[in-house]
Amino acid sequence: MYSLKLALKSLWYDKWINLLSIVSIATGLFILGTVLLSLYNIERATQNMPERFTITLFLNEKISKKDVDLLIKRLKRESIVKEIDYISKEDALKELKTSLKDAAYILEGLDENPLFPSIVIKVRRENFDRDRVEALIKKLKGFNQIDEIIYADEILESIQDVYSGFKFVSLGVSLLFSVSVVFVCYSTVKILFFRRKEEIEVYKLLGATRSFIRAPFIIEGTIIGIVGGVAALAGNYLLVSLLKGMTNPVAVLKLIEIPVQLMVILPVAGLVLGLTGSTIALGRLKY
């Protein structure tokens, strides 16, 4: 109780310097918040993107309806399969005609449909994994009613690459920025405590125990941290509402959302930083 009062008094006495520390910590956490916000929103945006990766199975011309149903049933059991589209010979011809546009009349001379029925498989992106896709394809190759399997080997690789690259970079960046923020906060708190070395010395000489000396400093540090975290959160809110409310908006930005987790993460991060920062900055008090 008294420690709290002391901490508040001291916060007020040194209000300018404390404000500056709060600004430092808030800025650090704000940057971190922006990074997390971006990651969250990019993730969300790409999740809503249409699936681009498909596997096309060209089936035997003479396949029976029963075999097709069996095949579809089997495919549905695969976890990586998201959607199955059966395109009959007739559908295929219709599609060809559409794609030929005005030149479609060239197909009029045909007395028989020369195309094959096919199945288009869309792969679930969440479970995307090159090895599993190839395993599926190997399995399908054993099916004698399938004439040919077409899947974009290269696209597969590049999607795989971009996606895992993205994940990797995101992780790296958040980690890096977190470390940076911790650095800034630590040195801010440490600089604050350098100023207080003499004060601590006096406390010691007057017979104060370690915990008595520590308490107000740590409470102070924690308050600075929490206020910094809340300020960072407010900054992120402001940023988002600014982006959403722009008069010449970029459509994508309209969709930005603040995840609920951020509302917890930033103040908690501030608290943890303030608490550990001041504890470490104080160091082991020696008598």
Partner: protein, 220 residues
């Protein structure tokens, strides 16, 4: 109460104290004197454990400083009131808080703290400065706050390092009266000063240091 046995203290290349041996009984009022740089402050720092001896041993209230655990130091210091030569006031706290802190450290209740702080402020004639900050005080006023902080805890040992250097004759006399009263109640006092007038003809014990050596130990 306090025993020094062949104590030597060396700073870098300066021997601040050399083979100093003496002992002080409980309730004594002892002056430490000697020219500037003689080692008076160093001797006192050894008593309140701000410095450790390089040689010899020191015994404080039955505790040998060599074997004393770090954890016990705060509790030992609570029995010692210190008037620092350089005041060591907290400049971001009011006069009231500066004095109260010495009691808060001991976990005393705020109501009692209030009474006792006001009492010592009255003793040093600074009741009207309760809410000032140290920087708003004159040199002598700051020194009296330091004295008030040292005596508010009713210590069993009172250490005063040149406590009247910034005080006029009347204030000095007032402070000396307070010290004599406290001493009469049983507190042991170590009082470092250059001012011979303070101990001349008092009949109190005077330790004289010169260049780190204890050169005399006689009645003033």
């Amino acid at each position: 109460m306090i025993g020094f046995n062949q104590v030597t203290k060396i700073y870098d290349n300066i021997t601040a104290l050399r083979n100093v041996t003496f002992s002080i009984e409980k309730g004594e009022f002892v002056f430490i004197t000697g020219p500037s740089g003689a080692g008076k402050s160093t001797l006192l720092k050894l008593v309140y454990l701000a410095e450790r001896p390089d040689e010899g041993s020191i015994n404080i209230a039955g505790w040998d400083t060599e074997t004393l655990k770090e954890k016990a130091i705060p509790y030992l210091r609570r029995n010692i009131g210190i008037v620092f030569q350089d005041f060591k006031l907290l400049y971001n706290k009011t006069v009231y808080d500066n004095i109260a802190i010495a009691l808060r450290i001991r976990g005393i209740k705020e109501a009692e703290i209030k009474d006792r702080v006001h009492e010592v402020l009255k003793m040093v004639n600074l009741r009207h400065k309760t809410d000032s900050y140290p920087r708003e005080l004159s040199g002598g006023e700051q020194q009296r706050i330091t004295i008030a902080r040292a005596i508010v805890g009713e210590p069993t040992v009172l250490i005063a390092d040149e406590p009247t250097g910034n005080l006029d004759v009347d204030n000095t006399a007032g402070i000396m009266r307070i010290f004599r009263e406290i001493n009469a109640k049983g507190t042991t006092i170590l009082f470092a000063t250059h001012n011979r007038d303070l101990f001349r003809n008092t009949g109190l014990r005077v330790l004289r240091l010169d260049n780190g050596n204890l050169v005399s130990d006689e009645k003033g």
